[in-house]
């Protein structure tokens, strides 16, 4: 029984490592800082959560210890990784990094132009882009 759960923990760690590698691949290949932070924030956080949950299960089964520090790290990564990505994307936009030329929609530009009067939830749905 303990061996099976140990194997589950190891496979979780391996799956998390593969998710991290995929996110690094997206960080290399995607064309734009916004798309790149899309890859870097979400899938890297998912991979790290897999690895940490695998380690938690491993120590729980093998040593019989519920490690509170590991639980705290899981919660902390889950909370702070999207926040850091959001801050970084907003800083990139406000410091003037251009969007990729294939981007079709830019809501934050409208909000910046009229001084924040149209909040993002009141922005109407724009016309769908014309396909040539």
């Amino acid at each position: 029984m303990a061996t099976i759960v140990e194997w589950i923990a190891v496979v979780l760690a391996l799956a998390g490592a593969i998710f991290c590698a995929i996110s690094a691949f997206g960080l290399i290949r995607l064309p734009d800082v916004y798309l790149r932070s899309h890859a870097a924030t979400k899938s890297a956080a998912l991979g790290v959560l897999f690895v940490l949950i695998g380690a938690f299960i491993y120590f729980w089964v093998v040593d019989g210890i519920v490690n509170a520090k590991l639980l705290l790290a899981i919660v902390f990564v889950f909370l702070t990784s999207p926040v850091a990505g959001h801050l970084n994307g907003r800083a990139a936009y406000r410091s003037g990094v251009k969007l990729w030329k294939g981007s079709v929609r830019d809501d934050f530009k409208k909000v910046l132009e009229d001084g924040g009067k149209s909040a993002p939830d009141t922005v109407h749905e724009p016309e769908p882009p014309k396909r040539p």
């Binding site: 490592a17 960080l27 800082v33 380690a55 120590f59 490690n67 520090k69 990505g85």
Partner: protein
Amino acid sequence: MTTVFLSIALVILAIAVLGCAYRLIAGPSRSDRIAALDTIGINLLAMIAVFCMLLDTQALMEIILVIGILTFLGTTVMARYIERGSVIEDGDDR
């Protein structure tokens, strides 16, 4: 046998860190570099967790927490510096 799988996971994570290091060096804007540094920190956290399982020790768990906190703080401070030009501002403007 689990040792082999954990070593493979460690190698994959090292390759991921190398890819992020490429974006850290070659990134066209500063925000690319910040995103790459954030991802490197988070991958290091995962590497230390795998290393704990490999060595079967609990002694490195504090390092996981400290690296998580330092990565988040560093990303926040650098993004704020890029956005406003200063990290700690005077009291008048919010």
